[in-house]
Symmetry: C2
Subunit: 331 residues, 2 copies
């Protein structure tokens, strides 16, 4: 099997490529990994097959066609201008998140018409397709009313993916990923950053700022769970999806207080004491428009499995991103 990951230099793309390095997907051997992003993606360690690394901007004419020249059987499309940037730069968000993806779909359609090519395409969508006000629990048939341009672009691609799939041009599945936590790396200024910051920083002995009240509730999955969703989506029987190709992924509904309690259990009061409360009304307003809880019954029935607790989410971060160690980094 020939696997293409678009967005392979991002946090999730790198973890996915590494998860595929043992060399199989759903029991089928992977002969070649094609990794693409706007910058050259890193080479995963330990993969025995062929690896192709490409710096590609999908929004450029011809770029998608070149990526598909050898007709990869599975395509993971994770590349996107992120939420904050798509909101600041209207044209860039549409050019990359909508037009770039449509260019990919059209390149597939041309190969489909030329030779019957019909890859499995796993698209990383987002719970940003939903917008407030919400019911207490969001069901699988709740409407998509995105509150951002990013969410709009994701919702549009979901519709395109369903139509291209219905016509047999590709075999698509869109996964609405929860907010990923704990996100490794440096703190960023994304409005959602604090959900990870208040765990990641104290776990290595650094201070973190909490800009909202601890009753704020949101919907989470670990990066490892998200990688699991993507792998499962690559091999499940899409006949079970019918025409409804978008799935809200399972996750964990947790409040900030529950996050902090889990941190206390894992790393003690000393870690919790590193969280400084600094209310930020602007961030509080943004976060108030985010969903708190879902009932992703379809995805659960199809075998997608989320993290069981925030303790597990923290443990996964320690295992996958901290090499098993917590406490202040040693010099």
């Amino acid at each position: 099997m020939d696997v293409l990951i678009i967005g392979a230099a991002g946090m999730l793309g790198r973890k996915l490529a590494q998860a595929l390095a043992p060399g199989s997907l759903g029991g089928v051997p992977i002969s070649r990994l094609r990794l693409a992003d706007v910058v050259v993606p890193p080479r995963p360690a330990g993969f025995g097959g062929a690896v192709t690394l490409a710096a590609v901007d999908l929004a450029q004419p011809g770029a998608a066609a070149r990526l598909l020249a050898e007709r990869p059987g599975v395509i993971f499309h994770l590349a996107a201008v992120v939420s904050g940037e798509a909101e600041v730069d209207f044209a860039k968000g549409y050019a990359v998140n909508l037009d770039g993806t449509r260019a990919l779909f059209e390149a597939i359609r041309r190969q489909n018409q030329a030779c019957g090519y019909r890859p499995r395409l796993v698209f990383a969508s987002s719970i940003a397709v939903f917008g407030a006000p919400f019911p207490e629990v969001i069901n699988d048939d709740y409407f998509t009313t995105p509150a951002t341009s990013y969410g709009t672009q994701k919702a549009i691609v979901e519709l395109l993916l369903a139509d291209y799939s219905r016509r047999g041009l590709l075999d698509g599945i869109a996964l609405r990923l929860p907010t990923l936590c704990v996100r490794p790396g440096a703190p960023n200024r994304a409005a959602s950053g604090f959900f990870s910051n208040i765990l990641r920083e104290p776990l290595v002995g650094l201070p973190a700022v909490l800009p909202v009240g601890d009753t704020v509730r949101h919907w989470f999955a670990s990066p490892r769970a998200a990688v699991g969703f993507l792998q499962h989506a690559a091999v499940l029987d899409t006949a079970d999806l019918g025409q409804r190709r978008s799935l809200t992924m399972p996750g964990l509904s947790a409040s900030v207080a529950e996050e902090i309690e889990a941190l206390r259990r894992v790393a003690g009061q000393r870690a919790v004491d590193l969280i400084r409360v600094e209310p930020d009304p602007a961030i509080a307003r943004i976060v108030a428009g985010w969903p708190e809880n879902f009932d992703p019954a379809r995805a659960r029935a199809l075998g997608f499995v989320a993290d069981a607790s925030f303790d597990d989410i923290i443990a996964i971060h320690i295992a996958d991103d901290l090499a098993g160690r917590i406490g202040p980094a040693r010099a």
Copy 2:
């Protein structure tokens, strides 16, 4: 007020232009009517202001900018490749229904950025944004899972319209129109044609074919009601919509049997006897995927009013399209 109708040569566009001919919209005088379509639209009778007629293909570069050169305050966008054609010609459907509309939105955005232009834009969407299976009654927060490329294109434009509106680039409202009935003109081979054919043809003494069982139920509005929706949408206070700019329009949920009973009351058994039952499994299959009933609570609360009965729908056809006369056409 300067009013632009795109799709002004179509059935609904012509009726809308004629309804505006008295010269006002929501009490505001109309100084100019700009009528555009892929063919030159007809000039409405009796309008006292200036009329501009234009043959324009929105999908052509520069076409949208030319239509907006004098910044019409209200734009009705009704133009579309219809359902059947968008299904047969994938590329044309997307080029006109998606790219043409996006070109219009982008031309508005450029004028917005240049000079603050922000027109009211009324978009004719469709209940084709919904796809089976359905609950018994479809509520306003039910998800859009279109079963056709046409429905996909309408749902995508709804998302774009909401995002452009949220950003203050235009002041949009999308109306999901019911199936229009009685549709004037010659019988066509659209799968939905029979809903109108079995009334329109017998009313003038001609035979009609009914290809499905009489328990088939669907969601209807008269063309006159639809014109009323469009006019109301052009002047309502969009602050009442919040971010949710798409509205399922009120309609009448009626079975084929109820249509036929109304025909009997209006035109007698002789008219009903002109309906010949000729089951067509292909059409029955298509129609089985169509919605039967809605609860359009938001639109009703916002003052949109549908037809009260099928007797009214037939009476409107007789008044508006048959000059008040039923029975065989005289030589």
